[in-house]
């Protein structure tokens, strides 16, 4: 294959879903003290690395740029990406970004991607299927709309050839094949690959890779258009759901199936 690719992978640092997660502060934003690279973004990074490696990797001029937006902790998502094999890291950070909703996030990311595309244009923007915290899945589609690009979401396979991509998507009642011209925004599912673990060599190599820090001024975004002020949605109240409490627990003594049906009947669920 002759073509080389310049791929941007959007990576997000999210609270670890293994533990309790909390909304804090005036805008009810997520507490990110104990954050990690979103598990779902590792699939996007792996997909990018495989596309690059199939074309000779970094030596042949392929670029895999991990881009993360967020406060200082977001740089950890970039570092992990570099350890996995991304060639460059970019951390978009600015105090004015705090509290950005999907619309404001997509505005800032679109500007950052345009900025990174000056000189050599970007061929592909890859994301995970959702963040494991916000869970809205809005950003990839909004990014595509802002950049005027095709979006291919929930790809469970992805090939790129001659400036076109082909992807497979699986829905409940059908599977479909989708084609689009590059550049495009693609989100991938956890079915597309098995992400690698960073190995010792990767961890050492990552230390030598540079992380570029960008501010809103660098990418030409007015701070009034992002953050709480620039968001189009606002959270007015948040309440922690009372934890579910255990109900009746029985041990099967040969009649538990019947007792299950008794319970359903009592709840008027039959």
């Amino acid at each position: 294959m002759e073509e080389t690719l310049k791929i941007i992978v959007l990576v997000k640092h999210v609270p670890d879903a293994q533990f309790d997660r909390h909304l804090t502060g005036e805008g009810y934003t997520t507490d990110r003290d104990e954050s990690i690279l979103s598990e779902l973004d590792e699939y996007a990074l792996e997909a990018a690395l495989q596309l690059a490696e199939a074309r000779g990797g970094a030596k042949a001029g392929n670029q895999v740029i991990a881009l993360s937006m967020g406060a200082s902790g977001a740089v950890n998502a970039v570092k992990k990406s570099l350890q996995m094999g991304a060639t460059e890291g970019v951390h978009l950070t600015d105090s004015a970004l705090a509290g950005s909703d999907a619309a404001a996030t997509s505005l800032a990311l679109a500007a950052a991607i345009r900025h990174l595309g000056t000189g050599a244009p970007v061929d592909l923007i890859l994301t995970g299927m959702a963040s494991t915290d916000g869970e809205t899945s809005l950003v990839p589609a909004q990014l595509a709309e802002r950049l005027g690009l095709p979006q291919v979401t929930f790809a469970s396979s992805l090939t790129v050839d001659g400036g076109r991509l082909t992807a497979r998507r699986d829905a409940d009642t059908y599977s479909e094949t989708v084609e689009a011209t590059l550049p495009a925004v693609v989100s991938v599912t956890d079915q597309i690959n098995e992400p690698r673990y960073p190995n010792f060599k990767g961890i050492i190599a990552a230390k030598r890779k540079s992380i570029t820090t960008l501010s809103l001024a660098d990418i030409g975004v007015d701070p009034a258009h992002v953050g709480h002020a620039g968001s189009w949605t606002t959270v007015t109240a948040a309440e922690e759901r009372p934890p579910r409490t255990a109900g009746t627990i029985i041990t099967d003594e040969g009649d538990a199936g019947v007792r299950l049906v008794d319970f359903l009947a009592a709840q008027k669920l039959l």
């Binding site: 709309e145 949605t233 199936g257 299950l260």
Partner: protein, 317 residues
């Protein structure tokens, strides 16, 4: 009153329950128009009138289904303009959310997903962080785009039947120019079971089914339920990935969730803990699922599920 636009995508010959819910919710917020994609069957027309719909828009193009999302978003943006809509309501399906996402950018409108209720003043309610919080949210824009989860509104017809006028909306060319094109589609074999996302009852199996979903499927069929699965079961290849409930699969909020042979770790809980009633069957008394189950059975699913299936069949006669 404000104007509401409801998007209905390819309804076929009857409106789904979740669509009737959107129409009922829309009517509580204002005059409701419908932007339809696909054929307009006469039975669907009649239902729209029963639900008090004031206008029906149809696209000038018949090929919106050939493109991913952006063509429908472009059509809907034009329809929202024609309807002077202050609120646009869509399904909370993955496609519904993506159409909403692009529509929001086109209309400079805030988008709120996973909505379960909307107040008269436009405040939307939803749960976040896998159901551990409930939040109230508003848009700060002239137009609001909301995707609404199924099974949260009781659908009901309007007190007065309407006589909606149908008109055609010109689909903007830029909706298809940059769109990904669907080049092939294979239908999967229909299970005949309800859709997992909207199902009133879900019966789900996990590692404990050990490759045999038979008892889970038979109980589901006796209850008219959808079949779900934990990630362990889908990763093992025992059932299609589409059935996965959890953090990386589907989030469901049915009236009843029966969990069989699933430990109930956080990844699974994230997808089902907003179910109204949870029933758990597991051999391991220490399984975390018992901490959140309304009715838990410590026992072998291969004994309990078939017995329950028999009993339901007996009682239903």
């Amino acid at each position: 009153m404000a104007n509401v636009l409801v998007f209905i995508d390819n309804p076929g010959d009857a409106l789904k329950k979740s669509t009737l819910e959107l129409l009922t919710l829309g009517r509580s917020l204002g005059e409701t128009a419908v932007a339809l994609n696909g054929d307009l069957h006469q039975d669907v027309s009649a239902t729209l009138a029963e639900y008090g719909v004031t206008a029906v828009f149809r696209p000038s193009a018949q090929d919106l289904d050939d493109y991913l999302v952006s063509a429908k978003a472009a059509y809907l943006a034009a329809a929202a303009g024609a309807a002077s809509a202050g609120t646009v309501l869509l399904d909370n399906s993955p496609e519904g959310k993506e159409i909403a996402a692009r529509l929001g950018i086109r209309l400079n409108a805030g988008v709120i997903t996973d909505v379960v209720a909307v107040d008269a003043d436009g405040t939307a309610h939803k749960s976040v962080l896998a159901g551990s919080y409930t939040t109230s949210a508003r848009t700060t824009t002239a137009v609001s785009v909301l995707t609404v989860k199924a099974n949260n509104v009781t659908p009901g017809p309007a007190s007065v039947v309407s006589a909606p006028e149908t008109s055609t909306i010109e689909v903007p060319a830029d909706g298809t120019a940059t769109a990904a094109r669907i080049t092939a589609r294979e239908q999967k074999a229909a299970s005949g079971r309800p859709d997992l996302s909207d199902a009133r009852i879900v019966v789900a199996g996990g590692r404990g089914v050990d490759g045999d979903f038979g008892p889970v499927e038979q109980l589901a069929d006796a209850l008219g339920a959808a079949v779900g699965a934990s990630r362990a079961a889908t990763d093992a290849g025992w059932i299609s990935h589409d059935a996965q409930v959890g953090q990386t699969g589907r989030t469901v909020s049915p009236q009843l969730y029966i969990s069989a042979g699933i430990s109930g770790a956080i990844q699974q809980k994230a997808g089902m803990q907003t179910a109204k009633i949870i029933v758990a069957v597991n051999k391991d008394a220490e399984s975390p699922i018992f901490e959140i189950a309304d009715f838990g059975i410590i026992g072998d699913l291969f004994d309990v599920l078939p017995q329950a299936t028999q009993e339901i069949k007996k009682r239903k006669g």
